[in-house]
Symmetry: C2
Subunit: 310 residues, 2 copies
Amino acid sequence: MTRLDLAAIESARKRIEGLVVRTPLVRLNAEDAPAEIFLKLENLQPTGSFKVRGAGNAVALLSPAERTRGVFTCSAGNMAQALAWHAKRLGIPCTAIVPDTAPATKLAAIRRFGATIVQLSCDEGYAPLKGWTFVHPFADPAMMAGNGTIGLEILEDLPNVDTVVIPFGGGGLSAGIATAIKAKRPGTRIYACEPETAAPLAASFAKAAPSEVHRIPSFVDGIGASSVLPEMWNLVRPMLEGSLVVSLKETASAIRLLVERNRVVAEGAGGSSVAAALAGKAGKGHIVCVVSGGNVDTEVLGKILRGEVP
Amino acid sequence: MTRLDLAAIESARKRIEGLVVRTPLVRLNAEDAPAEIFLKLENLQPTGSFKVRGAGNAVALLSPAERTRGVFTCSAGNMAQALAWHAKRLGIPCTAIVPDTAPATKLAAIRRFGATIVQLSCDEGYAPLKGWTFVHPFADPAMMAGNGTIGLEILEDLPNVDTVVIPFGGGGLSAGIATAIKAKRPGTRIYACEPETAAPLAASFAKAAPSEVHRIPSFVDGIGASSVLPEMWNLVRPMLEGSLVVSLKETASAIRLLVERNRVVAEGAGGSSVAAALAGKAGKGHIVCVVSGGNVDTEVLGKILRGEVP
């Protein structure tokens, strides 16, 4: 598969059906919100993020020979967990290339699913993985088609959706969901969202060209890169209204609200879409916020529940 | 409706469809569990507990005249929130009779849904409610039939379920779910579960008669009464294998695990079923734990996340 289109997304859906959770779309239980806000709860997936959809599709497309050799990715986070989870399920060797700086709690989560961890820069070659299949965390058509299945489910559950807000890291989640929704309900407004500390897509929209920003590390670590890949910019630009930028404080408040009112735990990325909608940045009407994941460190969550911004 | 049977539950399901969440059944993401544990996530309901099912059914059965006069219940917790939520949705006057000792945070949650709060003992009469319809929190056939819809959904999502574990307060949740499941898959083992601090059902099984215990208040406040009503004992006794008793420590650990591995927030009652299964008390095979609700105080949750037993 090389094209990302509705047919690819529909095929992906058949491949991953029963393997991942058909996540619920629930109302945000906040009576004073500026719009009718709905939550697409991808934090309920096994491994705690939407990444199991794309990784499940990518792994299902491997040939028997490719399965025997193994798969690898560059990630210390949600992508590594998702790929490792599917690989374990199918008995496929899996390696995660992680940066030296990856925190121990994240590495423990990857190891739980049996993946081998190699600390390297992702640009370096690594001889033992010769012949293994690389699955890119976002700029991979199979990954994006898997992500697009979220869009199909949103339209089934809320046919009159007006707006969808999607956390933006590399752009694979936005590309997949927007492709599905624009194909079936072209008038839907689709926004990306980014943290104030790392918002290269917003900068790219401002300059009408893929741009780089100075990235400040924060607890919102599932999204917020320093740049947007040109190929991803070209792909998402025609489908998105823009990128909504939210503060760390808005995001922490949204995560706390999700715990207190909807009894779900979102990570920084997952809370950012809700923060954008609550701040009125996504307008009015029926707004779906994609809660992309819930892999937040327990200590960070504790701080958020005490009203602090970690 | 006066009988609790499969037909009543199927009718209830039609009445509440689209009003409440068709909650997902997800795997507990713990590789080292003693069984294949699944979670029925009733904490994702609006108002954060299963009670919206029964309350929705009870309210749908009111005559126009009854709707005009109003509804009331005796509860400072999940029942009051659920009834108030439906009443607000339909413009029905609603009053919650609460004990003097009800904490302010619980009262605030009830007020959010527009109910009037009256601080009284539930045994006292209250003249202004003459003519209003009383909806009993558990020993009401319409409530129990609504609860039973959880059983239908469990069987749809996991047809080969071996065991279901259900938090036991007054018995209405157990009666509803057990009625549905025993009608359709009689070999399924159904257990109630109770906290060590208030386990009158376990005492009743031990004495083969409805019994009273000395109840110690704890953070597990959605279940754990001091006695079992004889009518509820007669109803549930033939359908249950027994009552699994869990410690506060086991329950707090289960709640923490649910946050860390499944990204959901359970209250004490909701965590107790998971605690029972994790301790191996429900045996092996495919076990469904009903996560009955998620209305835990934020400060209590913070303590649990720090490894304390609140």
